[in-house]
Subunit: 414 residues, 2 copies
């Protein structure tokens, strides 16, 4: 089937999903979870093909690790699906309403978006995760994964479609594009009027390609060039702990810090305190002139490009600044509007930074690593939005809905 | 200045607007309103040039009427600006928050979008209206109006910029593109990373051009192919009144009805009842075979194109349907997700229609003409969104904001 045919089939399944109540949707989710566990050997066999292809293609170990499924990983994926059942149904919430002076009774009610498209890369668990969240929020989905995981994805999708069909919902509610060519991604981006939203999950290249080419409304996710600013009044121990945690605890994720900005008055104290913490992880330091003069020849001179780069690695850029204003200007210039932090004891500095930094999440005295649906109490997470429309920051189930107004009258005319 | 230079100047004014409190923003709005009234003769002189150019170009009378300003129209525009002062400030609202188990204190706070782009057509009052709503919501704006109103717009913008500057806010917060070529519109659509949102206000051609070409997030507005479905159980007098009102009270607006769908069991009663009401406005009827057989030769045979057309005129398409299911399918196929109505006495029909019709506003027993920011109690309206992300239906000041999370800690790491 062509991408257009697949999308139309998925679209035609959307009304049945929208009309399904929580009980039926949860039944489908349990059905998926059970079916995944019953199909472990088939899924592992398919995954084995992907791993062999990846090894033959000389793909990096860390990518192969992200691609690999094991029995216990499949059981975890199934458990995650069961967890989604416990979340509150985001559909049918009455978000507001009033009786107008003319007697019209207006209710604003949450409804599914309709058909959600998701383009993602290597990890096969995203296939199940995304389908489960779309299903719970009453949406049909059209998924397109990376070519590395194609065999695993086809196996997972086949299991999920049968499980959804077994409870009486249309199998096309979980649709998947098997064509992994660039062309199929481009076609997906032009499905304006069929897809209600397109969510890219992956690296900066994928996301900018979707933003530049899509006629479907897009939710940008996950590019995080995050900063820790150490104010002149900072508690230096706290600053070093937060900075090292934000950089080192999991450098490959979008909420990890990439640049430290340090007020000149505490630069020497801070840098000497944080250096051994970074050394524990063999972090490479790209620093400005002052950083070089304080920490010596271990510092690689930083270029403008370093300040623009999301390293996603054990590397950090460091710049000494003259003032909080310089720090805020730097962040608003180089940041990706994801997560930003100030470490300070100063009440006015905390407020000024919180107000003037343009980002989804602004932290005072805490690590940027907390930007996460679970940490924010949203339950599940479909991604972290770095755009301003519709959703900003961690996106939960409610962000997979829109609303409609239902207006009841007794003959009102205008 | 080029479109890019103008946009960067406007962008640099955004932080000052975002930081301005309600008092300062209201002072700027009063300053604009007063300045408009003081400049009536200059504005009218500029408007006169536009009218002369329009007459020389042979532009239609109704378009010239929309273009024309008078002293009383300018005073009304100024009053509308003063009304915006009375609306609640949408910025700084605490939308939610909690203290997490680890002690992190999370607040979700509304903030301005930043720089709002608006592309619109002939009416010069939109220039003032849009600038006032952006200002109140703490946004800088970059406006681009139609070439017919260029002299009026330049005069209005000049007055507003001086008034904004007079209260100490940057004049570039109200920016305007004087280049009315197609090229400048295209450039505006490619300002990804500078414009935070682009809102097209105008005809279907403008809107689809923006949707297909913009890399900036778009809010689609205002295309309304709206339907009135007369159910078998409808009160026929009520149905005729609602249908005639939705069609005739103001056919040029997006919430006017374009098609009536009539259940076969009441088709004869309804059509004979509504016909004289339509005749009062000399409405042309494009009908299906059964409509033709009931109303006779005055009915022009309807084609598929009639059901797809937003007439915006004293024309209506009428189709007799076999069931509510056929009506809902027709609406979901031909509708533009704007406003849809069922007239019925049947409880289950009302619920089924409300749930299954995919539209921003679904009416039971009331005219579609009520889809309007004022009628919904939103105060002001920046447009009526027909998309599902961010805003759906009438958009008030709150839809010109996004939110940020402000997270306060005392050293938390993860």
């Amino acid at each position: 089937m062509s991408v257009l045919q697949l999308s139309l089939a998925a679209k035609s399944a959307a009304p049945a999903l929208a009309a399904a109540g929580s009980q039926l949707k949860n039944k489908a989710l349990f059905s998926i979870a059970d079916a995944l566990e019953e199909s472990i050997s088939d899924i592992l066999a398919a995954n084995q093909k992907d791993i062999q292809n990846a090894e033959a293609a000389g793909i990096s170990k860390s990518l192969i690790d992200r691609l690999s499924l094991t029995e216990s990983r499949i059981r975890s994926i199934a458990d995650a699906v069961r967890q989604v059942c416990n979340l509150e149904d985001p559909v049918g919430q009455v978000l507001g309403g009033s009786v107008r002076p003319n007697g019209l009774n207006i209710r604003k009610v949450s409804v599914p978006l309709g058909l959600v498209g998701i383009i993602y890369e290597a990890r096969p668990n995203v296939t199940v995760d995304a389908a489960a969240l779309c299903l719970k929020s009453g949406n049909a989905c059209l998924l397109r994964g990376g070519k590395e995981a194609i065999n695993s994805n086809i196996a997972l999708i086949s299991v999920m479609r049968k499980a959804v069909g077994a409870v009486g919902l249309p199998e096309d509610a979980v649709s998947f594009i098997t064509d992994t060519s660039r062309n199929s991604a481009t076609e997906m981006m032009r499905l304006s009027g069929v897809l209600d939203v397109l969510i890219p999950r992956g690296g900066a290249g994928l996301i900018s390609s979707v933003v530049n080419n899509s006629t479907v409304p897009v939710i940008e996710t996950g590019t995080g060039n995050c900063h820790i600013y150490i104010d002149s009044s900072a508690d230096i121990d706290m600053a070093a702990n937060i900075a090292a945690n934000a950089k080192c605890s999991r450098p490959s994720v979008c909420n990890a810090a990439e640049t430290f900005l340090v007020h000149k008055s505490c630069a020497e104290d801070f840098l000497n305190k944080v250096k051994p913490l970074l050394d524990n992880y063999s972090v490479e330091i790209y620093g400005c002139d002052i950083t070089q003069s304080i920490l010596g020849s271990c510092v690689i001179p930083a270029t403008d490009e370093d300040f623009s780069t999301e390293y996603l690695d054990y590397k950090v850029a460091i710049k000494v600044v003259d003032s909080i204003d310089e720090a805020i200007d730097h962040i608003n210039k180089y940041g990706t509007r994801h997560s930003e932090c100030i470490v300070t004891r100063d009440y006015f500095a905390a407020n000024s930074f919180s107000q003037r930094v343009d980002a989804a999440a602004v932290y005072v005295n805490a690590s940027t690593r907390f930007t996460d649906g679970g940490e924010f109490g949203l339950g599940a997470e479909i991604g972290i939005s770095t755009q301003k429309l519709h959703a900003r920051g961690p996106m939960g189930l409610s962000h997979l809905t829109t609303y409609k107004y239902i207006i009841s009258g007794d003959g009102q005319i205008r």
